[in-house]
Amino acid sequence: MIFVRSLHPVSGEDVAEKMKLEQVRQILNAEVITGENLLSREATMGCGADLMSDVLAYGKPGSLLLTGLTNQQVVRTAEMADLVAICFVRGKRPDAETVKMAKSHGLPLLWTKVPMFESCGRLYKHGLVGVSEYGE
């Protein structure tokens, strides 16, 4: 019998589950575009959006952003809102300029072929919480 247990407290008031980017990469079968050396960074929550204004309004520092948008404003948004990393979903890849900008800000970028809904679902199932569940 093998038990793989996560020993983090999961009840609401306690510290929420953190997820290393390396875990995100495995769960979403993702590839790393930039920031290979930063995969030990932890996301405290996840946020899925294609509208950057929503990310700016509701995203919290320490969030991982899942998005189908690939322009430079996505990286800018992550920079302004203190996000830990971006994962592009449903097989979209950013252009060279966007990657360059992320690299210069030390922001890891990943991409996965998994669509948005499933990406969010898989990470949530593995214990990554959403922004509304994460205490201040």
């Binding site: 996560s6 030990s40 509208l51 204004s53 404003q73 203190d82």
Partner: protein, 309 residues
């Protein structure tokens, strides 16, 4: 002998800061033959053994090899494991762990929570090295920020009140460079040593304002004033202006063209986002004349003292 940074950390940091929390355990009654899959699949070389939820031993790859070499019958883990389990408490300093590894020569220790006696993790030498390195990296990063910190400027300047003013020019329709001014302002405020919550609010509010300049106008200017207790941004352009300011403030109201929406903006949330970040916001606009937007954000201490909105 002076202490090195690493030595200091080994005394400062606790076992629970570096241990692995996702613990793979095996039941005491599991047959030895099954260990092969456990070790291979989980890429580990040893694991705690539990019975009825309690830690009863530790089984390692070495134990497994010994068992294989002995060509014995398939027996349960219980009979081959190390029973005198040496454990560490989760709140012990790392230096205890280091000396225990040294003294006993084990590859791993189970970590127990002091109050409850529960198994909460496993620690290896590798965990200690990784944990200390990570901490060193963070400390180094913080030191770097500190070195750049220009916050002393407020102490060095002799005046009753000091205000620093930063100006940024924004070119209209230049979507690719959108956010450049906000990015530069954010970096500047960080170096001035402003608290991270304030810096983030200023950055988000300025970014939304900057995107408005780029999307709707021929360009404009952002002037940020930093004084003790608050940051104020004034964003000005010379047209086209907003016909109905009240309407523009409603969430979801937007006159942005489709291409802007395709880029992830223009959903009518910009001014609301600014309002959300700001302690005070003023907007004056007339069609054909341009828009004047003033955003005030209080810094940490002042915000605690009471918001004015």
């Amino acid at each position: 002998m002076p202490f090195t940074k690493v030595q200091e950390l080994v005394y400062e940091m606790k076992v629970n800061e570096v241990m692995t929390r996702s613990v793979i355990t095996v039941d005491a009654r599991t047959p030895m033959s099954q260990l092969r899959e456990v070790f291979r699949d989980k890429k580990i070389s040893g694991t705690p053994v539990v019975q009825d939820g309690k830690l009863v031993g530790i089984i390692s790859l070495e134990d497994f090899i010994k068992w294989l070499y002995g060509r014995e019958q398939n027996s349960v883990i219980e009979t081959k494991m190390t029973k005198e389990v040496e454990t560490l408490y989760d709140d012990e300093p790392l230096v205890h762990a280091v000396s225990k590894f040294d003294r006993l020569g084990f590859g791993r220790f189970a970590v127990i929570e002091r109050q409850t006696g529960r198994l909460v993790g496993v620690i290896t030498k590798g965990d200690i090295i990784a944990g200390v390195l990570k901490k060193l990296e963070i400390d180094y990063h913080e030191e770097e920020i500190h070195r750049y910190r220009a916050s002393h400027i407020f102490e060095d300047i002799v005046a009753d009140r000091t205000t620093l003013v930063f100006e940024y020019d924004v070119i209209g329709q230049d979507f690719d460079r959108g956010g450049e001014s906000s990015s530069r302002l954010k970096r500047t405020l960080k170096r001035l040593g402003l608290d991270p919550v304030t810096v983030r609010r200023v950055a988000i509010a300025t970014y939304e304002a900057e995107m408005n300049l780029i999307v709707f106008t021929e360009g404009g200017k952002i002037v940020a004033r930093v004084e003790p207790g608050r940051v104020t941004m004034e964003v000005d352009d010379s047209g086209p202006g907003i016909a109905d300011v009240e309407k523009a403030l409603q969430p979801g109201y937007s006159t942005a063209p489709q291409w802007v929406r395709d880029l992830g903006f223009g959903a009518g949330m910009g001014l609301n986002n600014i309002q959300k970040c700001a302690d005070h916001m003023d907007i004056v606009s007339a069609p054909g004349k341009g828009t004047h937007l003033k955003i005030s954000i209080l810094t940490g201490d002042e915000r605690e003292a009471g918001r004015d909105s």
